[in-house]
């Protein structure tokens, strides 16, 4: 672990990862975005406005809940849950959407686009657009429109237009491709609110910074509750924004950071999205990062029961964290996530999003190796309402 962690560099590189691998049309808008971002973050007004929105609109700080039911169940280390499921709109995605809508305002953009997988980022974006009076277009793969139909309706109710994407695997990556194509075409009046710590610089940095409120709060809260830092922090990794968000305040500490990817049907099948576990370096959607791809550099069709994790890439900062062993990455299967959903629901009265359930499921591997005087924090990135149909089908009761 480095004490001088200071990524990305001025060119947006996290070690050899990250960067700006985009068509020329987007270079100038990305520079403008970066400049405006740096300018804004220096302004006290901006920080005050964002803090106020986080508090009064989103309901931050979100609680850190001691999970006594779950702690008893494993009978090992103490388990706490960081409750991003209690954010307005039901997931951490709103933290980023609020920050970026203020940026879009400052940039003078009138039209907002976003990609969404689970629909949580789409809902968060539609929400902030409704609040700030901007037009909102959300790209969503046809497969995801089907499995997250309630969120599609929520976006529409919030006044957004949901644009179905029928190319490729018709999931998150294809929605992101279409959003980028839209941005290339309409860049003059449009801001692209990307939903995770992915894409070209400065997005991975900006989204990380807006999500890092999760870790900042967690650090304060655990100090108050336990007068010390935890031993482990566990978060699910799709693009990696909730994970970076909770990790970021702890990277220069001894806390073990654990990212959990989706193993789908299992990492021995080709139906998974365990990018950091099985991917190799690639260039995709504007960034150099670990990528699930075939021998010829074609991006793999991936699978997860959880739409928000169903993505063949991962944020470039996680690629660096993996190589530098700043965090460790593991994966759990669809079935393990479903069982963890049931466990958390019954033991704690909290129905997690299927994404977050991956982090919970990893406790089955982690807890046996912990000691009673240790502390584990799990980031519950979102609530499970959006997934009830999928969970119902799987559990059959």
């Amino acid at each position: 672990m480095s004490n001088k962690y200071n990524s990305p560099d001025v060119n947006g590189h996290f070690g050899k990862f990250g960067g700006k691998y985009v068509p020329e049309t987007l270079i100038t808008p990305l520079k403008e975005l970066e400049e405006t971002y740096f300018q804004l973050t220096k302004e006290k007004n901006f920080q005050d406005e964002l803090n106020k929105l986080n508090k009064e609109y989103t309901g931050r700080p979100t609680p850190l809940t001691f999970a006594d039911g779950l702690t008893k169940y494993f009978d090992k280390a103490k388990i706490y849950l960081k409750r991003e499921d209690l954010c307005h709109t039901g997931a951490h995605k709103i933290n980023n959407a609020l920050g970026q809508i203020l940026l879009a305002k400052k940039l003078g953009k009138t039209r907002i686009i976003a990609e969404t997988g689970a629909g949580q980022h789409g809902v968060a974006t539609a929400t902030v657009c409704a609040k700030f009076g901007l037009k909102c277009f959300v790209y969503m793969g046809e497969v995801d429109i089907e499995r997250q139909s309630l969120n599609v309706f929520r976006m529409k109710l919030l006044g957004a237009e949901v644009i179905p994407v029928s190319s490729g695997s018709r999931t998150l990556k294809d929605a992101a491709n279409e959003a980028i194509r839209d941005w290339v075409t309409n860049v003059k009046d449009t801001h692209y609110i990307i939903g995770s710590v992915v894409g070209p610089h400065p997005y991975p940095m900006i989204v990380r910074d807006f999500q890092s409120v999760i870790g900042k709060e967690t650090k304060e809260q655990i100090q108050i509750a336990e007068e010390r830092l935890p031993d482990y922090i566990v978060a699910c990794v799709g693009g990696g924004s909730n994970a970076i968000g909770i990790f970021y305040s702890f990277i220069n500490t001894k806390v073990k950071l654990i990212g959990v990817e989706a193993a789908g049907y299992g990492i021995n099948t080709n139906k998974h999205c365990a990018t950091l576990t099985l991917g190799r370096e690639g260039i995709f959607q504007g960034m150099k990062t670990y990528l699930l791809q075939n021998d010829e550099g074609q991006v793999s069709e991936v699978h997860s029961i959880s739409a928000g994790l169903d993505y063949p890439g991962v944020g470039p900062e996680h690629s660096l964290f993996k190589d530098e062993v700043i965090a460790d990455y593991y994966s759990v299967t669809d079935d393990e996530a479903i069982r963890a959903t049931e466990l958390l629901s019954k033991a704690e009265g909290i129905i997690p999003a299927l994404e977050s359930a991956h982090a919970v499921a990893y406790l089955n591997y982690l807890m046996p190796n912990t000691k009673k005087d240790e502390i584990v924090i799990v980031n519950i990135s979102g609530r499970g309402d959006k997934d009830l149909n999928t969970i119902k089908d799987k559990l059959g009761y």
Binding site: N11, G19, K20, Y21, V22, P23, E24, T25, L26, I27, T28, P29, S167, G168, K173, N177, I180, R181, V184, T185, N186, V187, K188, E281, G282, I283, F284, Q285, G286, K288, L291, Q293, D295, E296, G297, Q298, V299
Partner: protein
């Protein structure tokens, strides 16, 4: 073998603008592709840009996305594309350019790609997701003899156009409109203004205009302000509905070239 720049100069000196035609490797029919390429050159194409497919072509509109998809389904990859190049090169001296996204090249091996390109007589490469920011991270000295053609777009500032002109070799690819390939709803007046501005700044390189040129009329309106034009989506679209001997497409190429002499 002449270089791309010399070839374009030669044509310009004869009062001709060059026509560069984009074909997706192995599309529409991998068994006939070499034939199609040679006949496109015969019909009037001065040079060919041959696109090797990628699963996630970010800079492309629906038409080239579709052709890439078919090419992938036809089993086309960089190796097969090099095989096509080898055959085409043995039967023409005109410039051949490879176009595609960074990831398949990274996966193939950047050095191996550069070496094979050089030895097979590829004159240049266009990789739209390698802007000058990532140029040094991607291209290396092995590309010294294979031109690396860079793009400028309407969002590119004048200072940046200068930088791109310095780094680019072969020619400057001037994208006349912000958008993906095949875009049709461009404001011609704004596009031509941009092309003129770029031309006045570009000093080192020849300049070709592409994206959104779909008809003889488009070709005519841009030709006075550049050294040549690039036609991609219009050709691919024509190939999608053409007969097996490509009559319509070859006729389109012929007419486009006639508009440039």
């Amino acid at each position: 073998m002449t270089t791309i720049a010399n070839y374009i100069s030669g044509k310009n000196n004869k009062n001709e603008k060059v026509l560069s035609v984009f074909l997706t490797s192995g599309f529409p029919d991998k068994n006939n592709f070499v034939e199609l390429a040679l006949r496109a050159l015969e019909a009037g194409a001065d040079m060919l840009e041959i696109g090797f497919p990628f699963s996630d072509p970010l800079a492309d509109g629906p038409i080239i996305q579709h052709s890439s998809q078919i090419a992938l389904e036809n089993g086309i990859n960089i190796t097969k594309t090099f095989n096509f190049i080898k055959e085409i090169r043995s039967r023409t001296d005109k410039p051949l350019i490879l176009m595609g996204y960074a990831n398949p090249v990274l996966s193939y091996g950047i050095e191996k790609f550069a070496e094979n390109a050089k030895s097979l007589g590829v004159n240049g490469v266009i990789i739209p997701d390698i802007p000058i920011e990532e140029y040094e991270n991607f291209y290396n000295h092995l590309f010294d003899e294979v031109n690396t053609i860079l793009l400028v777009t309407p969002t590119t500032s004048n200072d940046r156009i200068k930088l791109i002109d310095e780094k680019s070799s072969g020619f400057i690819y001037c994208v006349s409109v912000s958008g993906t390939t095949g875009i049709t709803n461009q404001d011609k007046i704004t596009s031509i203004e941009f092309v003129k501005r770029t031309r006045s700044i570009v000093k080192k390189n020849k300049m070709l205009v592409g994206f959104g040129i779909s008809s003889v009329k488009d070709a005519q309106s841009f030709a006075p302000y550049c050294d040549g034009i690039i036609v991609g989506s219009a050709v691919i679209k024509s190939l999608m509905n053409d007969s097996s001997d490509y009559v319509k497409t070859l006729d389109l190429i012929k007419k486009l070239k006639q508009a440039l002499v």
